[in-house]
Subunit: 274 residues, 2 copies
């Protein structure tokens, strides 16, 4: 069981590398915090899997993080944030923050036309979690959604710009574009890397919401509120764990994180606590 | 332990649904055989994972099949055929057939210019398994390879034809096209569904090798050779197991198999034998 004190680390997990966009923002605004990142690269992607399987994976990942000294879990994966957070809360009283609520809140604040678009993986969109969250904040907002299954492989392949990329984006987003939304939630941690191309397809009048920024702010608020913020004046440590070979994680991950990754440890999940 | 008698079933596994193209061909030429298919849909895709992880998954899948009454294992996955077959042979003396050797043999038979192209997932191409196999059959054949990571998500999304699909295929295959090959091995069980578009991009002078057909023939030969062919005059049973929700498997799988899938059972891997 973790100790939940201010010197504990923030545990962050994602199905793979996408969550590094969230870690990057947390590093930026909370540099003194210790961070432990787990990427379940042996079972990525989660977005095509059933709710039940995603929940099982979420609990298994959280169990590993809880075996470390952590004070907070950040679910840096939209799919797990949409369907798996309650399952984690059942096994721990360490606070859990997902990327979904902060993104939804920012969308509600931004929309003037009261028409919001949400894009994400199949699992995230099918869960209707963004719709429910936005509606619960403001009932009269129309929420239009679209699953974009090819975006994750595109980003992982490093295809971020160019004619083919924009043609693929157009195929998925043309209906959303014509629907008159003024706000589009990038409901998958991979999508910020396609931001430039998505903005070009959608036009400048549509504001893109990147939930990584919003989630990092929510983390800072919660730590303050619970008296768990680190009082250290040094930069915190950063530890990286993956469930498959570190090589691919490093190559693609540094693009996501925006800086070099030192050591990456490989572990097996389900994790066996000694 | 399986009994290895003629009334045993043929156990087939793949990381997901791609192997159904192989099952389809086995059903066609060996209709009387009992077939058990396992798709490890909770951990698909394998093509982006490390050799070590693919080997572990291969052994875990084979262990499940061996808990049934099977007389032969067909590895209907190029990635596992490239890196995982030896690991399976270490745990059993039931014969194991992969899709790689039959495809390589057909390519060697077909090429006149002695220039063969091979396309597949990252893991398959990085393993150089096709190159080694083709060279071991005929030393003076040039083998040119290319990993095409976006092809699997394209097929799973049902994008099989059209301008965008051909533009993506061209991006990957233009160098191979200009290299003067006369034979192209589709080194991934998903790729036969893109055959039409790949043929259009490559032109009619290039022969595409679909290893599903070749593998089914190799299975028939081996069963004859070992005296394991079924003497039944009725159609064999077909059983389907998956590790994630059957819904997605059924929707996409019927397109691969070319017929309806009745019951699909969900199991958990690693499988615990009672």
């Amino acid at each position: 069981m973790s100790r939940k004190t201010e010197d504990g680390a923030i545990g962050i997990f994602d199905s793979g590398i996408g969550g590094l966009t969230v870690m990057r923002e947390i590093m930026r605004i909370l540099p003194q915090e210790n961070l432990i990142y787990l990427g379940d690269t042996a079972r990525v992607p989660y977005g095509i899997r059933s709710r039940e399987t995603v929940q099982r994976y979420a609990v298994e990942n959280a169990t590993f993080l809880l075996s470390q000294n952590i004070k907070l879990i950040v679910v840096a994966c939209n799919t797990v944030s949409a369907v798996g957070i309650d399952a984690i809360r059942e096994i721990t009283d360490v606070p859990v923050i997902g990327v979904l609520k902060p993104g939804a809140r920012a969308a509600v604040k931004n929309t003037v036309k009261k028409r919001v678009g949400v894009i994400g993986t199949e699992a995230t969109i099918q869960s209707s979690a963004y719709q429910k969250e936005i509606k619960s904040l403001k009932n009269d907002i129309d929420v239009l959604t679209k699953a974009c299954p090819l975006f994750v492989p595109l980003v992982e392949e490093g295809w971020l710009e160019g004619d083919i990329v924009e043609a693929i984006i157009s195929t998925y987003l043309s209906e959303l574009k014509e629907s008159g939304i003024d706000t589009l939630v990038l409901g998958c941690t991979h999508y910020p890397l396609l931001k430039k191309s998505i903005q070009r397809v959608m036009g400048n009048e549509v504001r893109l919401i990147d939930s990584a920024v919003e989630t990092a702010r929510a983390v800072r608020e919660l730590l303050h509120e619970k008296g768990l913020i680190s009082s250290s004046d040094k930069q915190g440590y950063r530890a990286f764990y993956v469930t498959d070979s570190p090589d691919r994680f490093r190559n693609i991950g540094e693009r996501f994180l925006g800086c070099q990754i030192q050591e990456i440890k490989k572990i097996q999940i389900p994790y066996r606590i000694n």
